[in-house]
Amino acid sequence: MRLSNRQFNLLAVSALIAVSAHLARLPWWLSIALVAVPPLRMFSRARSAKAISAWLRVPLVLLLVAVVILNYGNLFGREPGSALACGLLVLKLLESERIRDARTAAAFAAFVLMSALLFTQSIGYTLLVSSCLIVLLATLNALEPAPLDSNRPLGAELRTAALLLGLGVPLAAAAFLFTPRLGSPLWGTPGAFAEARTGLDDHMSPGSMTELLVDDSPAFRVRFETAAPAPSARYFRSIVLPRFDGTTWTRQEAPAQPGLEPVVGEAPPIDYEVTFEPSHRPWLVALDVPLSADTGLRMRPDRTLSAVGGIRNPNQYRARSVLAYRLAPDLDPVDRQRALQLPEGFDPKTRELAGRWRSEGRNDDAVIASALAMFNAQFTYTLSAPLLGRNSVDDFLFDTRAGFCEHFSSAFVVLMRAAGIPARVVTGYQGGWWSDVGDYLLVRQSDAHAWSEVWLQGRGWVRVDPTAAVNPLRIESGADAAAGDRAWYSGSWWLPLRNRLDVINRLWTQSVVQFNALRQKSLLQPIGISSADQRDLLLALAGAFAAILLSASLWVMRSGRSTRHDALDAAWGRLCRRVARGGVRVRDNEGPLDFLDRSRAAFVDTPERARLEDLVDAYVGLRYAVTEPVLAEVQAFARKVREFRAPPRVQ
């Protein structure tokens, strides 16, 4: 049977919705092509009943495969696979002329929708994609032949689809909770397909963070056991970069002194829990200097945290930090030498300036103060920093004098080293937005920051943030307030609202996205199984399914039985019972009119008699005068029967 235009159009809309869930990741020309085809076909199909010939369809499939291979290099993997699936769905639409094709296309659209979620798991996106299921199910429903009213509005199908999804909630919830999660992937390494994600890198050169600083996506969230530290103290150290080659700062792989840098706490420690968003990098964060952290994490000698592999799923961990401390009060000579290392042949003017300060007899503190005073007096903070030449620090300090945290920390550390003070660059995040509702701190990628640490005799590594000297607002109020010159279209104007809504995101991340094999183990604790293995979970799944399906079956069968006696008979039975209270019982061999005759004798001269006559009359009319009584009249009859009261028994 050929699809009606209505059915086809609905199918085309479903396909369009499924494809549009992928548009952001597809090349723009493919997006345009995929979005344009369904409406074109809808239009052409409405005008002529001709199917599209295979001479056009087969070359289009080949073209699609060629295009995907050219663009992505292969056909497999998430990115090319989803592009191919989108294209095939649209091409399937071109050949959908019969119900069977249309059903296949609709099922394939479900697959395309689901694959969109493999890229983004945010709550908004999931809700959006899930709501598309309604359109999809409505399409399948519309493919049913329904000859009575082919011109009906879409409402009926949408209602059916929503009803099915609603009824399915218990089943879906049970399946979601109890389906055993895989400890390790069945095929491939999911990380191998990881596309570029924003996040801190383990190297830094002036300008390398620009992309990160305009990215509003959440980096991590922190929940504090005790009071949260003041905004200006919210420094989250992530990576320490002591090596400098003239342009780029990099990590030191193995320190000369084995083991952690010792730390002496000088304030009560703070316990907190971090939920780190996937970054596909191993680096984690810790508030200032961590004393201890969860066992699954690595703490590097410079007291920064990292995971064992790249972080693909949200990572939750606990740590204990201290804000006032002495870090590595005794510096190993080799490490000290490394912290003073400067590449030969770079930045002569900077070295000269540092030498001049030293020759003026200034001590370490005075040199630091001079540098900060210089930054404060002559430098400006801007995200659109001018480009720097080969002697990047010279250019910055004496020429451009405008930049952001990277420029300031890099120049400051070079200046310190030139003056003979051990120094290093530290990157991480600073600031964040405190959610009163959720009682947690939200830190975005745009809160990424770079600062410096200098080693002072007797005090160990001390944090110095040169950016604060230039732009105190950045440290006090966060990155967003500091970058006041951003355009309206960057989306920053609704950041306050998004900050407020983040509590929902967090709930979503914690309850759904992070629901992993580990969390599933504790799922059966309420019924006494402290650590559920796969067998327990499968048993629970089977039990939940059986319970839900059994109750659904009972409900369906009960509702099938309830119409056994029709409404008219039920009302008549009620009337007979009422009259029986007055002393006249209907006999098995008696029709309504005979029954009425006997009742007349019993109810002499009561108002009920006239009413009973009317009722019996109405019943006879409804039951015997027409093949099928009108529902409204039956209901009116039933109402009147309910109002009828038998007269008191006459003796």
Binding site: R100, R103, T104, A107, F108, A110, F111, L113, M114, S115, L117, L118, T120, Q121, Y125, T126, V129, S130, L133, L140, N141, L143, E144, P145, A146, P147, L148, A156, T160, L163, L164, L165, L167, G168, V169, P170, L171, A175, F176, T179, L182, P185, L186, W187, P190, R312, V512, Q514, N516, A552, V556, S559, G560, T563, R564, D566, T627, E628, P629, L631
Partner: protein, 329 residues
Amino acid sequence: MSALGARLESTWQKLLALAERRLPALTRLRAAEALPIRLHRRRIYVLPTAFGIGFGALLVIMQLGALNYANNAALLLTCFLAAAAWMSLFAGFRTLAGLELVAIHAAECHAGHALPLTLHFHASARARPSLRLRIGTHLFAFALAAGDGAGVAIQLPAPRRGWMRPGRMKLWTDQPLGLFVVWSWINPQTSILVYPAIEESAPPLPHGPGQLGERFSAGDGEEFSGLREYRSGDPQRRIAWKASARHDGLLVRESEVPVDDNRVLSYASLHGLDHEARIRRLTAWVIAADAAMLSYALELPELRIGPGLGHSHRHACLRALALMPDAPQ
């Protein structure tokens, strides 16, 4: 290829018939039952359709993909889709459960024409969209709205005269998503009389025995001779409306020429035709005589009807013709 298909089909039908004879409990052969027939849970069957099985396989793939990428959002979406698909089974069952076939009405039909049937279903509180009915190889789709009993008009081929049983019908639906087929067999104990086929371009009606006697009057036999009470079967144009108005019942003008009108349609007089051809011609004559308002009598080998005229006479004649025994071999 199609020949092979036809052979397979006929083999399958034979196997099915054998199975139903030998294993009635297993194949759910339903003896003919009296109307009304109500579909309850013990006679409703459910199986996934081919599309349903394919969809299930797709759901498994989606589930594995989501699990492999440890992607809970995709897993949740798949769970919802699967749950909705499963719930569609119950929705489909509800479409059929409680459905009650109350009556089957047939209109007049001659062999060789399509037999128009109307199936009357009992009113039910909920709508039953997209039901399908299969009788033999004939497929009908219909829907029942909520609240009103509805007649569903279908047409079946009626190749032979005589009693015809609509036979076993499969009432099925794959509502609402096409994933599960829900069906029930019904075999109503209803027989429909199919009148014999009408001979095309039959010769004109034979003259009545009037040629032997004298004609009482010329003209159309409208010579007025008296009034009598209306009898069922009298043609309408003979009713004396004015006289009837002054009387309790209807009065009919009697004319002088009833004998002349009285054609005898005799089976025995049709020499040279075979059994069925005679029946066809007699049928054509009955219809022609009725249309011409000529009174007629039907003479069959073991039965004589009439003379008479009118609706019930016509049906009595056609019924007798329809039920004529088959020609002796």
